[in-house]
Amino acid sequence: MESLSGRKKVLEQKPMNFWERMYLPAILKGMGITFMHMFKKKETIHYPEQEREFSENWRGMHSLKRDEEGRERCTACGLCALSCPAEAITMISAEREKGEEHLYREEKYAAVYEINMLRCIFCGLCEEACPKEAIYLDGPIVPADYLRKDFIYGKDKLVEMPIKELEALKGATV
């Protein structure tokens, strides 16, 4: 039959000749190839010290965003938890009190917001579901740990640093 891709290669099934049956010439050729690989550039990236460049649409650790005034954007609507196929997100909402307007953008906010990183499959659906642009998977690789309970990330690890602190940090390093 005519091959559809035009790339079909018909291989002839002929019995091996004496040299092929001895395997040695083929083995020597293979060993030559592997030996040359000893002197090639190593592909290894020494991970904790070096990092591979991430692609544009890389999905890493989640971060809960703040708006321009440094207020938490999340309004604890629960859409991210609902959309999460791994059921990794849990939250407890609370109402914003008087005097907390500089902390939370909406009247309702997430008092507790936890993502179980062992359940999360980094699909990014929470990011897509969020109506407030409050959650993005733009962080680094989630690091390894020893205990299961340490993989449940709370707000202390997820919420972006307040802008002031960030600037202070930048000022310190400059």
């Binding site: 040695l24 083995i27 293979g30 592997t34 030996f35 690989h37 090639k40 550039k41 190593k42 592909e43």
Partner: protein
């Protein structure tokens, strides 16, 4: 038997024992490094500089792993298997001459535990015992995969021992002796046996791979088909014992090949070096040369492992019975004819 003799041998045995163990331990490190280099990687480099503490970390891990003895297994044989494999692999080092006689504290010390005049036969006996470790372990596990591995190991070793023995016969026609020491002495200067027995060496080499169960002949373990073969059920230190036995076997067969075919501790320009350095430091150079040859062979073993895929079982048997044995017999006939003709001239 004088006391000094006993002490001398005791020290030699201890040094050899420790040396063999550390070479086996560092072979595991070297294996990973070589594998990495051949695959454009860097290999273990976290435990110590260049990952040199890796064998210690591995050993520690092996010790602390849970020892599982399957309930349906024969407990006594289950323990005997790896012990036997390890014990037998050590025995081989006894007859290998690692250097010339060395002069220490006014005594002439031979660098060989014992120079029995049937050294080659001894090695053969010990090597064929090695398969018992695999067979007993595989049988005692009461596991189908292990049993398959054990059966494969047994039939493979039997098949390849024949070709190995035949290739040695041709070598013996050349050397006229079974003693390792004498064979090593005969190769002084440039009379390395590889020059007289190139075909015999290749046959011996291939058989050595089969006898040590190394890739491409690692069918007794064969992870992809038998999930580990004879050591499927083993864990912890017993598993480590099997692994160690494999690496020690590799060391012994490298030493045997270096002695039989590559001149042992001999190297070009040896006489000049010996007379310049005297009877103590001259042989030390010989020891270094011997170990360089051994390490080169060990590297070769690893290099092949990370190049060649595993043979199919029927290919293995075909190669052993239909290619290597006829070749070995032809080698004997040709060698015998050439020796007779040369003698008559």
């Amino acid at each position: 038997m004088e006391l000094a003799f006993i002490i001398e041998k005791l020290i030699l045995v201890t040094i050899l024992f420790v040396l063999t163990l550390s070479i086996a331990a560092y072979s595991t490190w070297a294996e990973r490094k070589v594998a990495a280099w051949l695959q454009d990687r860097v290999g273990p480099n976290r435990a110590g500089i260049f990952g040199l503490l890796q064998p210690l970390a591995d050993g520690g891990k092996m010790f602390f792993k849970e020892e599982i003895i399957p309930s349906g297994s024969n407990k006594w044989l289950f323990i005997a298997g790896p012990s036997l494999a390890l014990l037998v692999s050590f025995l081989g080092t006894a007859v290998i001459p690692f250097g010339q006689n060395i002069e220490l504290f006014g005594r002439v010390v031979p660098l060989q535990v014992t120079d029995i005049n049937v050294g080659i036969l001894y090695i053969f006996g010990v090597v064929s015992l090695g398969v018992y470790g695999i067979m007993i372990g595989g049988w005692a596990s009461n596991n189908k995969y292990s049993l398959m591995g054990a059966i494969r190991g047994a039939s493979q070793n039997i098949s390849y021992e024949i070709a190995m023995g035949l290739s040695i016969i041709a070598l013996l026609l050349v050397t006229n002796t079974l003693s390792f020491k004498e064979i090593a002495e005969q190769q002084h200067g440039w009379h390395w046996n590889i020059i007289y027995q190139p075909l015999g060496f290749i046959i011996f080499l291939v058989c050595a791979f089969a006898e040590t169960n190394r890739v491409p002949f690692d069918l007794p373990e064969c992870e992809t088909e038998l999930i580990g073969g004879y050591n499927t059920e083993y864990s912890g230190f017993k598993m480590g014992a099997y692994m160690f036995a494999e690496y020690i076997n590799m060391f012994v067969s490298s030493a045997v090949m270096a002695t039989l075919y590559f001149g042992g501790y001999n190297y070009p320009g040896m006489d000049a070096v010996n007379s310049a350095l005297g009877a103590t430091w001259g042989p030390v150079i010989g020891i270094v040369v011997m170990f360089m040859k051994i390490i080169a062979f060990i590297f070769f073993f690893m290099w092949v492992r990370w190049t060649v895929p595993r043979f199919r079982y029927d290919q293995l048997m075909d190669l052993g019975w239909k290619v290597l044995i006829p070749l070995a017999i032809a080698n004997i006939v040709i060698t015998a004819i050439v020796i007779t003709v040369v003698d008559k001239l």
